[in-house]
């Protein structure tokens, strides 16, 4: 079931030699436009947002990007299908599988997903043995892309799993829905009992494990139940303090930046992170400060910097705390 090639560079609108900073910038820009929370046509925006997220998932990871570039260079070659990661060797008599509804395209699923299959007993390689006649199906693992909105409120996602039997070549498709619990953390596996590989000889089927991947958000990233926002400040805002409006998943809030704030300092707002299960408790929101220098100074600004230089005793090399 070979999937068609996806041009992730085109999706993000960046050249093939774009730096990782350019990719990050392009992703953020597009994700802001097509984020389902912002766009008018939510259905189209959601599909586009997933496409952008998938492209970012591959191009922002140096290892995946290298693999993708290599795949692209050999895509027209008749041997490219040999590079597919999840095809089992024929002697395993296992089943090839392919997910649908996980938020990733077939192309991504075939080449970049963390999908794997395990639990095939060694003794079953001889199909005439008793172990092969009665054998529990293998467990199957795959990734599911979940937006932060789905993490906040929970969701029900339709998922399908196509499996081709290695011996008979017959393709079976199971369709089901999985409830994504509110507050599910990145990396958490959701076990779907009995939706793995079919067992043989009356033995039970294996389980399906869906590993949750939080979709990249243009403004936030997550760690456990905590939400992080990059807060960009001008030097005078960091020095003098400021009252700023910042986005959260609950809407905008006013955040007081204290005078003398430092680069890398985190301002914490309790309880505005992701929910922790059904308890009503929530993680925290952290705004991480990055102080940016103005790109160029006008004559008036330059004069003020010069004045500051003449009166300040601060020297970051000899007396950083002065």
């Amino acid at each position: 079931m070979p999937a068609s090639f996806k041009d992730y560079y085109e999706t993000l609108g960046v050249p093939r030699d774009a730096s990782s900073a350019d990719i990050k910038k392009a992703f953020r820009k597009l994700a802001r436009v097509h984020h389902p929370d912002v766009a008018k046509d939510k259905k189209t925006a959601e599909a586009k947002f997933k496409e952008i997220n998938e492209a970012n998932e591959v191009l922002s990871d140096p290892e995946k990007r290298k693999k993708y570039d290599d795949l692209g260079a050999h895509w027209d070659s008749p041997h490219h299908s040999q590079r597919q990661s999840r095809q089992e060797t024929p002697q395993d008599f296992g089943q090839e599988f392919n997910f649908g509804g996980t938020g990733f395209s077939d192309f991504f699923e075939q080449h970049f997903s963390g999908g794997s299959r395990y639990g095939f007993p060694g003794g079953a390689r001889d199909p005439s043995s008793a172990a092969a006649r009665e054998r529990r199906g293998s467990d199957i693992e795959g990734d599911i892309l979940v937006s932060l909105d789905e993490v906040m409120h929970g969701a029900v996602r339709p998922v399908s799993l196509q499996m081709a039997n290695g011996r008979s070549g017959k393709v079976e498709e199971h369709s089901f829905q999985v409830r994504i619990p509110a507050g599910v953390t990145d990396g958490k596996r959701i076990r779907v009992p009995g939706q793995g590989e079919r067992g043989s000889g009356g033995a039970p089927a294996g389980d399906l494990y869906l590993r949750v991947r939080h979709a990249a958000h243009p403004d936030f990233h997550t760690e456990g139940h905590d939400l992080y926002y990059d807060l960009d400040l001008a030097p005078w805002e960091a020095v003098l303090g400021a009252d700023l409006t910042v986005p959260t998943l609950d809407g905008s809030i006013k955040l007081r930046v204290p005078p003398g704030s430092e680069n890398g300092q985190q301002l914490r707002v309790r309880g505005l992170g992701l929910p922790k299960g059904k308890s009503g408790e929530r993680g925290d929101y952290h705004a991480t400060i990055t102080v940016h220098m103005p790109p160029k100074s006008s004559a008036g600004e330059r004069e003020l910097w010069e004045k500051l230089r003449s009166i300040s005793k601060f020297n970051p090399r000899t007396n950083p705390s002065a």
């Binding site: 922002s60 089901f176 619990p181 990249a216």
Partner: protein, 100 residues
């Protein structure tokens, strides 16, 4: 098993933190209670709070252990090393993802 109004395929509704007693885990995985306790004693699987209650992650780890034991012929110390390394890879990947 429930369905939703717009889709009549079954809905799997995992508990946020499903836990199982030792007997239930033995039944789900086909690994004897005694063997599970042996793995626990060697630090291969961790109980969820109470010493004889396990979660879905422990069920998955048990299946992995059986896979490594039967297919890769790994012994207990080999399995422990592999599981620790897999956990470390997971942790580092998560940390890398959140920094990108």
């Amino acid at each position: 098993m429930n369905t939703t109004p717009e889709n009549d395929s079954p809905v799997y509704d995992p508990e946020h933190q499903s836990t199982y007693t030792l007997d239930v885990v033995a039944k789900i995985t086909g690994v004897s209670s005694q063997t599970i306790l042996h793995y626990q004693e060697h630090g291969l699987i961790r109980p969820s709070g109470n010493s004889r209650v396990f979660d879905d992650e422990a069920v998955r780890t048990l299946r992995r252990i059986e896979h490594l034991r039967q297919n890769c012929e790994a012994n207990l110390s080999g399995i422990k090393l592999i599981l620790d390394l897999m956990e470390e890879v997971d942790r580092l990947q998560a940390s890398l993802r959140s920094r990108r």
